[in-house]
Symmetry: C2
Subunit: 417 residues, 2 copies
Amino acid sequence: MALIVHKYGGTSMGSTERIKNVAKRVAKWHQAGHQIVVVPSAMSGETNRILGLAKEISAQPDPRELDMIASTGEQVSVGLLAIALKELGLKAISYAGWQVPIKTDSAYTKARIESIDDAKVHADLNSGAVVIITGFQGVDAGGNITTLGRGGSDTSAVAVAAALKAEECLIYTDVDGVYTTDPRIVSEARRLKVVSFEEMLEMASLGSKVLQIRSVEFAGKYKVPTRVLSSLTDPMIPLDEEMTSGTLITFEEDENMEQAVISGIAFNRDEAKITIQGVPDKPGIAHQILGPVADANIDVDMIIQNQGIGGLTDFSFTVHRNEYAKALDVLNSKVKSVISANSIVGDDKVCKVSAVGIGMRSHVGIASLMFRTLSEEGINIQMISTSEIKISVIIDDKYMELAVRALHKAFGLDQAK
Amino acid sequence: MALIVHKYGGTSMGSTERIKNVAKRVAKWHQAGHQIVVVPSAMSGETNRILGLAKEISAQPDPRELDMIASTGEQVSVGLLAIALKELGLKAISYAGWQVPIKTDSAYTKARIESIDDAKVHADLNSGAVVIITGFQGVDAGGNITTLGRGGSDTSAVAVAAALKAEECLIYTDVDGVYTTDPRIVSEARRLKVVSFEEMLEMASLGSKVLQIRSVEFAGKYKVPTRVLSSLTDPMIPLDEEMTSGTLITFEEDENMEQAVISGIAFNRDEAKITIQGVPDKPGIAHQILGPVADANIDVDMIIQNQGIGGLTDFSFTVHRNEYAKALDVLNSKVKSVISANSIVGDDKVCKVSAVGIGMRSHVGIASLMFRTLSEEGINIQMISTSEIKISVIIDDKYMELAVRALHKAFGLDQAK
């Protein structure tokens, strides 16, 4: 008997028929003797529908009130799933985040989980009940509802699994695992049976939509074995088969594991780059530029500063495309005159393409193969950023698919191992 | 400066355009110097939509989980209204019932309010904010979400007004006040400028849909001056005009008030009657019959027992039509054999029509005029029940409109006073 956390995405919860299927799958696990906690997302489209109403009323809706309304989608989901489980004869109880409670900070629309009380949930599990907890949300110290931002239900599930010391966290979704790249762009993309935590972290941060990055961080921090698998299979497939399907995120570097040099090509179209030209090349300048940006709650991704010439340098960074206008606004109003920059320019028609792989550590020439491949396709590289296990480039977004396909082939990811 | 509670129904909150109109009206009151608490319903159709999902999953959904999901409609409403008020430059904050908290008992889907904490709300009001509180819901001692049942937002509003010692509770709805009867059935129906609390209580209990009965009970218990008025007027009409529109429920019998003998004709089509035939006429029999019905949480309305003949009597009562099957089930399984009744018969095609008026106290012949009028229309009376200020009859529901029109005319309600 093990304690297992299941997470179901919006598509898996998309209709009452699908919710009944989720209930059948959960019941199968429960009847095999496992203790099950389920963290479902809102029914697909529901959160967008509600936030659309807010946008009809205000171009810049108050974040606290947005969380008040956005959190309702999951509340409906947990109630419906509890009803479906009871209909199958199981004991089941649902909780909103504040009822557990899942405590977060007060950063509305992008809150971070601070603690999860496991007492109530363990008591329910020990009484034989399936416990269903709303994803995506929590409650701050003032008793206000908060949400974790898009994809936050993955984070909720992994955080709940960590708090409950669950044996495994199963992320059921509409894809059957993590691929070498997006199969919609490269038909030869292959599913990875195992991926290391570090690779998964890079892939998530680089735009792979399979798992939200904070959920991977949580999985890594608390070493929660996490598996991404399909919710579209027959709910009654044998448990053994289901337990080994999908992609497992592992925390051990297994020496026997035949590790490819590169595990996957990730990409992200939601990028915008900003360059501040003619910045005095002196200590503290990066903070003077990015401090006000951070204060405005804008996440910065890649940051590049070149060696200065003649006491002046250019400073570039990327932000989410949705925050491009806001970032430019902050820079023009609060930064430009303070640091006496010459000009601020930007482009929100760029994308990021990355090659990720733990094998990179022990192989040379990965970067040069990547740059050569792009060059042969006539794609200009605008920015480069590297870490120990990934290389990312910013390119014109019209070349994104071409770049992904070329790199996937160049690194031999289309060949079965 | 006064503290005023506004309540807006589902139709008034039915679209983002209408929510913006509600915000304009609230802003007008706030800018005139009043402290405003708003209790909105869910957007029209929303609660039905959500409960419909539950019904697709289970014929008898778990009540706790129903409340979990049904409460979300109001949560969306309060958030959207707060956003709309902020868009107008006002300070505003929304609360779900559990955040206030509004404490209730644990009778899911028909909970009763036990207490309302006014500390947080008063603090917000004193800071200049408009406070918006979800109608229809609260939280029980165990921290579970409860709902008050259909129309519960009226009750929430009046209860909040009582807890805050508000000067007036304004119930904005899609009708412009309380009428002598439903204008859709009798075109000559007239709006009452003032109605006594007792008459309103009878009218609500007798099927007038204008106010939920528990809200009237609350208004009476705590003497909350409550006004029913239209939300469909231009939100910017002068405050003086708005303050005297609609129908005021009063707690004083004003001697100068020209009181009609009968104030209105109420009716209710949601009735079903059940008769237990051949019941031993001995002490305790009513409790033996109705105890199990009450235990099943079924509300009983009219109860009639005739003088027995030969040691046996017939015992009749009415229930809500939706609970007819459940009530028959309880009686057949738990009551019939215990009390050795001959048979249990029923009819769910009946309705109740009532004449209500404080003036009845000092006038004789009201009942006989009522019975004669129905008789002249060829309508058979199946059950009769009276109180100090009302007479109700149960008749075949196909005669309902005819009966209402005939009685409205017979009591002179179509003549302007």
